[in-house]
Symmetry: C2
Subunit: 125 residues, 2 copies
């Protein structure tokens, strides 16, 4: 309730919105939300699609997203037990934002790599 | 040149675009680009406006952005010497993307804090 009235300001070091920017801009968050935006997924599917993520990092990322109310974890009492992760409504609003980030990175990668080569060459000279 | 032909894929652990997502989603990058989007700024201005950033972290962030070709550093031979940082054309294309990230964080902060309280309360129970 009272939270609605606060002016959140990531430029203020004491504001929790500063942390949130970090969290959602993290590579694993971007990639996990990307996979879940195609629909609910099991842990195994996520591990396969986000190649190279360690089990520990995937569990941490999912737990942080669940705690922030962006992902919901559903456990089905089956044999073997089935656990499915799904974006919440709030999590779905994050998707287009992170998709733009992903698109920007794909599009500007060549320019960034060229800039790095130039920078490193001039730093040596 | 050849870089243009590559399919950049942040889901591939060997693709440099995966790093780039991290870098640009970093809180300091988001805030520094935010300040520079108002126009060129001196080191001192940046340190003032991004409250709480350490000098070391500000220097590192600026150097990384310069190396990636997103920020340009201009030194004027004056007394005392004046150094000004400015977004490049590529850096300017990043601005709307990061502004959306910042907006999302401001808007969803109350919901995220409430979700955390619920999560932490149920974890204790």
């Amino acid at each position: 309730m009272g939270n609605e009235d606060i002016e959140w300001d990531p430029y203020d070091p004491n504001c929790p919105s500063r942390q949130l920017v970090d969290r959602i801009g993290d590579r694993w968050t971007v990639l996990v939300i990307g996979v879940l935006s195609d629909g609910p997924a099991r842990y195994r599917d996520l591990a396969d699609r986000v190649a190279g993520i360690s089990p520990k990092m995937l569990s941490q990322t999912l737990k942080a997203l669940e705690r922030d109310g962006l992902v919901v974890r559903q456990a089905f009492a089956e044999v073997p037990p089935r656990v499915v992760y799904e974006l919440t409504e709030a999590g779905q609003t994050l998707r287009p934002v992170l998709l733009e980030l992903e698109r920007w990175a794909r599009k500007h990668m060549p320019g960034v790599l060229e800039a790095r080569e130039r920078y490193d060459a001039s730093a040596q000279g």
